[in-house]
Amino acid sequence: MKGYRKYFLNKLAWFLVTLVCAFLLNFILPRLMPGDPVAAIVARMAQGMSNSSGVQAIYEQYTELFGTNKPMLEQFFLYTRNVARGDFGFSFSQYPRTVADVLSASIWWTVCLQFPAIIVGWLIGNSLGALAAYLKGGFDKVIMPVSIFISNFPPFGMAVLLMVIFGVNLKWFPTSGGYGFDLIPSFTWSFMWSVIVHYQLPFWSIVLIAIGGQAIGMRSMSIYELNADYVKYARFLGIKDRKIVGYVFRNAMLPQITGLALSVGTMVGGALVAEIIFSYPGLGSTILTAVRGQDYPLVSATTLIITLMVLSANFIIEILYGIIDPRIKAAQAD
């Protein structure tokens, strides 16, 4: 267990370090955006007002409210304290809604869309890659080029493709939103059904991209493992192929888990783009509106949440990997 603890602490330390860096960047970057967001809001509110001192008063009021007139360092401490409390302040673009309010409405859409999609894509991709390595021949010759093709597809390309084929031409699925615009969220059958139908296109566009990338990696890992010495030895001890194939795919899959940890960030990034294209009410769409409205508390909070999700996913995957693969323990022990 000593080896594993070392591994765990090492991963935990890195997790915390990246988290702090991400937090700092999240605070600084949106504040470097050009333009004065408060001025923009005031301009919007003050449209039609001729009294310039009135405008000035509103401006000062907002500046006070958001704390943008304070020095950066003080803003940072305020920000840290507020974030720790889960208070991200007001949204500029959707004032008077709070950022926490906006996010809590959209985060579940993203979580429920992306995590199942990435896991399903990972599972299907690995199965196909393993099969291609094992069956070889025709199956391999079809799966490989297709995988390479779709894995090199930009995420928005896949989303647009599915949208055009299944949404616009075949009209099987709706092309935008998380549910019918004429429905009110509730636990009714018609609403649930609408959610499911709207889920399909964004879901599969994420799944497909993930499948492509995973299948390629799994195929080459499996081919490598199938030729390993232990396969030959197990055969010569009379062990059945079915069991040996079990060893091989387990061993080939292990590096794929680390591969998932490495690519989960890219996958989430791509998936956010897919959300935007399908106007899915998740974090992707939120961040787009936030950027457009120069809504820096919202931009900052959304990126922070996304970063946090990706880093945690990463951390969890690596922790699990350390438990599943005995080689980790052995490597750390000495």
Binding site: D229, Y230, F236, L237, G238, I239, K240, K243, P326
Partner: protein
């Protein structure tokens, strides 16, 4: 006469490469190993020792293919058998194998005991895990391996320990023939000694009935095996008892191989194969005549014309050359 555990008649196998070329790496090899005996196989790298080891198992998979010949294990001819049947009832049980790269022979992510369960359950359907564990522990104790090894993963074992574990696993089902392909080459001297000791112990305790030991380090063979077979380019070029093969070889290749070993025992350790000038022929296009002709000091024009047959001397000693024993001995004396 003692029971013959393994008899091989004119076994020929070939590799078919990715590009469809044939490599004739085992060419009409015949051999016989009696109960309680050990046979050594020696030869330079690439002469087909490992391929012979694989071919002897009677179960073939790409790129290695069976061409002709017979393998008889304890009176049972397995050459005509259905491959699935060979796998089920012969491999591991009748004939077992220790691969050249025993370091990587174990699945890195499976505990030793779980792998042992897989091996035994494959052949004995109704055995409980407890019985398997007891059996494995007893075997490990007999062979001087700590029982804790059973609960470890291969990565947690040292090289020497891994090697000995592989040997122990190979004899779990008490095979009649054990084929060990360079079981000690990659090890340090202490581990090598332990492995050799262990192989001897396997014979003495009756865990195996016969042994085929492959190596390119001749001095090792002399201490372990009763007979030695020298291979060159996929063929047997000489077969003799260990002492004769090491100290009194007949075939020019065997002579070159053993050449520098003159002082018995003393200094034997340091003698490795002497370098014979030149390289073995490409087995994709083996030469028509004697395969050693290109490198032989005594080559005659007729050596290259027809393939050369094995000659058998009194007492069963064989060698493959156009010259008689006397002619060769005379030639050696003249330098």
């Amino acid at each position: 006469m003692a029971n013959v555990m393994l008899e091989v008649k004119e076994l020929t196998t070939k590799y078919i490469t990715r590009f469809g070329e044939d490599v004739y790496a085992v060419d009409h090899v015949s051999l016989k190993v009696e109960e309680g005996k050990a046979l050594g196989i020696a030869g330079e790298s690439g002469c087909g020792k490992s391929t012979l080891a694989l071919s002897l198992m009677g179960y073939y998979f790409a790129p290695l293919h069976y061409t002709s010949g017979e393998i008889i294990i304890d009176g049972r001819n397995i050459s005509g058998m259905n491959p699935d049947e060979v796998r089920k009832s012969i491999l591991g049980k009748e004939i077992a194998y220790i691969p050249q790269a025993a370091m990587n022979a174990l699945n890195p992510t499976r505990k030793i005991i779980h792998f042992i369960e897989d091996v035994i359950q494959e052949h004995e359907l109704y055995i409980t895990k407890k019985d398997i564990y007891d059996r494995a522990r007893k075997l490990f104790e007999t062979l001087g391996l700590p029982a804790e090894v059973l609960q470890k993963y291969p990565v947690e074992l040292s090289g020497g320990m891994k090697q000995r574990t592989v040997i122990a696993i190979s004899v779990l089902l008490l095979p009649k023939v054990l084929i060990a392909d360079e079981p000690s080459s990659a090890l340090d001297v202490t581990s090598q000694k332990m492995v050799i000791k262990m192989l001897r112990q396997l014979m003495e305790t009756g865990l195996i009935s016969s042994l085929i030991f492959i190596t390119h380090e001749l001095p090792l063979l002399y201490n372990v095996t009763d007979d030695i077979m020298v291979m060159y380019a996929g063929q047997i070029v000489e077969k003799a008892n260990s002492k004769e093969a090491v100290f009194d070889p007949i075939h020019p290749y065997a002579k070159g191989l053993m050449g520098s070993i003159i002082v018995p025992e003393k200094g034997l350790r340091d003698v490795k194969l002497t370098a014979i000038p030149g390289v073995p022929p490409n087995l994709k296009r083996p030469p028509a005549g004697c395969r050693f002709a290109e490198r032989c000091k005594y080559v005659q024009p007729e050596c290259k014309v027809h393939s050369v047959d094995l000659r058998e001397l009194e007492g069963g000693r064989t060698y493959r050359c156009i010259f008689s024993e006397e002619q060769l001995r005379k030639a050696y004396q003249n330098g």
